[in-house]
């Protein structure tokens, strides 16, 4: 009997607990929510790192936050791609079923702006992001089929000196090919950021990309621009780029080296006629172009202002860049996937209110009014200082000229 009572009591307690648990979510329903992640990096071979996510929710009475809205670039461990800059991620969730978020990155000196004001960052220097180093160590300059392209008669003629030709060419081109290994892909970024807002019905967002481009720096310091990114990208704007400019630069270097150095390199080989030279070089250059061909496919896949929407909710990513497999053979120790400025807003829903007696007659809902006024700036440069300096310089120049003329006249007089 006692056992039965205990069992019944436990069952009642369990049922009560179940009821309480099932009721809990209703009382703690999310009225509004938003989140922001400034930056996420996935590195080839070494894993991923990110700035963390700052997420806020409002249950109709209080706002709760998780994560930090003051991320530091130094917290992005295990990577060398980004060393300096200003990260921003902020979000607000209000009890009136509205939420806002913003996130992004800018160079040092940028001003942070709270969420709800549109952009998160203002001003700042540009950041040079070391996206990938190019590795040409697998490039075979002299292949075993170097002489196969020549006709049989020429092959016979050149046979005794094939090894010497191969050696001379390898020696001639080695410095150039070895030097290619210092090349790298860089992404130069101004302020890159996204923002979003949501109410109980709709959500919207946008991204801005200030003065950004992707380029390759060749070992000699030459810069080959791959693509300039648009400042105000369309929704889900794709930007793909290849390295054909780099291939062109490499091939041009090889041709110049061969043109300028070949006669000297083969000077001792009197058996090598112009015909042999021509055919061997054609085979060599064709082989190199074939090996570099993957770089002429798209190597960077960039999506700007990527927007993922669902009813009442939106996720906006300002920049999403991937290094495509086409480049894998030539890209080492690199960034595999980079996302900058991911902001999410909604879905939001107003608190279900208890029905009151004699509810007031429904009026037209109040029109939307501002709840935030962003009427503050740290500084503003309208260029007047430059103009004043220019005018001052002109006045000084004019005064100098006047004095000089005066002195000259005195001397003549």
């Amino acid at each position: 009997m006692r056992t039965t009572l205990i069992a019944r009591g436990a069952a009642v307690a369990a049922a009560a607990a179940m009821v309480a648990l099932s009721a809990a979510p209703a009382s703690a329903a999310t009225v509004s929510q938003a989140s922001a992640t400034a930056l996420s990096l996935e590195l080839a071979g070494t894993g991923a790192t990110d700035s963390g996510t700052y997420a806020v929710t409002n249950d109709g009475t209080t706002e709760s936050a998780e994560g930090t809205n003051e991320p530091l670039i130094t917290a992005l461990g295990g990577q060398d791609a980004i060393q300096v800059g200003t990260l921003a991620q902020d979000a607000v969730a209000k009890r009136n079923a509205t939420s806002a978020a913003c996130s992004g990155i800018a160079g040092d000196g940028a001003t942070l702006v709270a969420a709800g004001s549109g952009d998160c960052l203002s001003g700042g220097d540009n950041i040079s992001l070391d996206a990938a180093s190019l590795d040409f160590s697998n490039l075979e300059v002299i292949r075993s089929d170097l002489f196969q392209g020549a006709d049989s008669q020429l092959q016979e003629l050149g046979k005794p000196v094939q090894d010497q030709i191969t050696s001379a060419l390898a020696q001639l081109l080695a410095p150039l090919v070895d030097g290619l290994d210092g090349a790298g892909i860089y992404v130069d970024l101004g302020a890159v950021q996204s923002s979003c807002t949501a109410d109980d019905d709709t959500a919207s967002g946008d991204s801005t990309i200030a003065e950004s481009s992707a380029y390759v720096v060749m070992p000699g310091g030459d810069r080959v621009t791959l693509v300039d990114l648009p400042v105000e990208p369309a929704v889900n704007q794709k930007v793909v780029t290849d390295l054909s400019g780099v291939v062109d630069a490499i091939m041009a270097g090889l041709r110049t080296q061969l043109t300028q150095g070949l006669d000297g390199a083969l000077a001792d080989l009197t058996q090598v006629t112009d015909a042999i030279q021509k055919q061997v070089l054609a085979t060599l250059l064709t082989s190199l172009e074939e090996q570099l061909a993957p770089l002429e496919d798209n190597v960077l896949d960039i999506t700007l202002n990527a927007q993922d929407t669902s009813p009442g909710a939106i996720t906006v990513t300002a920049l999403d860049a991937k290094v495509l497999p086409a480049a894998e053979a030539f890209v080492g120790g690199s960034l595999a996937h980079l996302t900058i400025g991911t902001s999410s807003c909604g879905p939001n829903s107003p608190v279900t209110k208890t029905v009151v007696n004699n509810p007031p007659k429904a009026d037209n809902p109040p029109a939307s009014v501002p709840t935030v006024v962003t009427a503050g700036m740290e500084s503003y440069d309208d260029g007047s200082a430059g103009r004043i300096a220019l005018v001052t310089l002109l006045l000084l120049a004019a005064a100098g000229a006047g004095v000089a003329t005066y002195v000259r006249m005195l001397r003549r007089g």
């Binding site: 009014v369 501002p370 006024v373 503050g376 700036m377 500084s379 503003y380």
Partner: protein, 196 residues
């Protein structure tokens, strides 16, 4: 013929004298009329219109006004901090209902159109100029509100179902070293209108 030529100088002198007298009398009459009926021009009604210039004589501030829109619930002044923004969702100056909302930047390093707004005092005059005239206002209150307080009181400050055409001027204040913590809100009622 000879008589006429003899009599002409006195006649001309008399005519000139009478004309001079008439002009003096007319001038005195006009001055007296101006003194006795100084507000006559105010009787001409100035229609509501989009603001073109905001003038704060007590702060020695004048700024061009341009229309701005809401972005979500954010009111962002014009990019040029020397300009003032008029929220197009608010009443036009001269309207009998609603309130005219204008906002301008405070720039920490100087140069903002409303940098001096924190020095304005109750009772001072604020004028807003449209293409048809000038609406003169007198400051009723100066409030400093945190961001949270502003959001909570948004309907009172910006709502268009009340206000009787009053003017609302707003900018940022309380620089904390990296941003602004508060807004300063000036409310002013209209007391006169002057046709241009």
């Amino acid at each position: 013929m000879a008589d006429t030529s003899v009599d002409s100088p006195p006649r001309l002198a008399a005519a000139a004298s009478s004309l001079w007298t008439a002009l003096v009398v007319l001038a005195v009459a006009m001055v007296l009329a101006g003194l006795l009926w100084p507000s006559g021009s105010a009787a001409v009604e100035v229609p509501p219109g989009a603001p073109q210039r905001l003038e704060l004589p007590g702060l020695n501030t004048k700024a061009k006004v341009v229309p701005i829109r809401l972005k979500g619930e954010v009111l962002d002044p014009p990019r040029n901090p020397r300009e003032i923004g008029w929220w197009v969702g608010s009443a036009k100056p001269g309207s009998a209902q609603g309130q005219t909302v204008v906002t301008g930047h405070t720039v920490h390093t100087g140069g903002g159109s409303l940098n001096k707004l924190d020095h304005i005092e109750k009772g001072q005059e604020v004028d807003i100029v449209t293409k048809d005239g000038t609406f003169q206002h007198q400051v009723d209150s100066v409030e400093v509100l945190s961001r949270k307080e502003l959001a909570e009181q948004a309907q009172r400050i910006f709502g268009q179902d009340h206000g009787d055409g009053r003017l609302v001027i707003i900018t940022c204040t309380d620089w904390n070293g990296s941003g602004y913590d508060s807004n300063i809100v000036v409310l002013a009622h209209r007391f006169n209108e002057l046709p241009s």
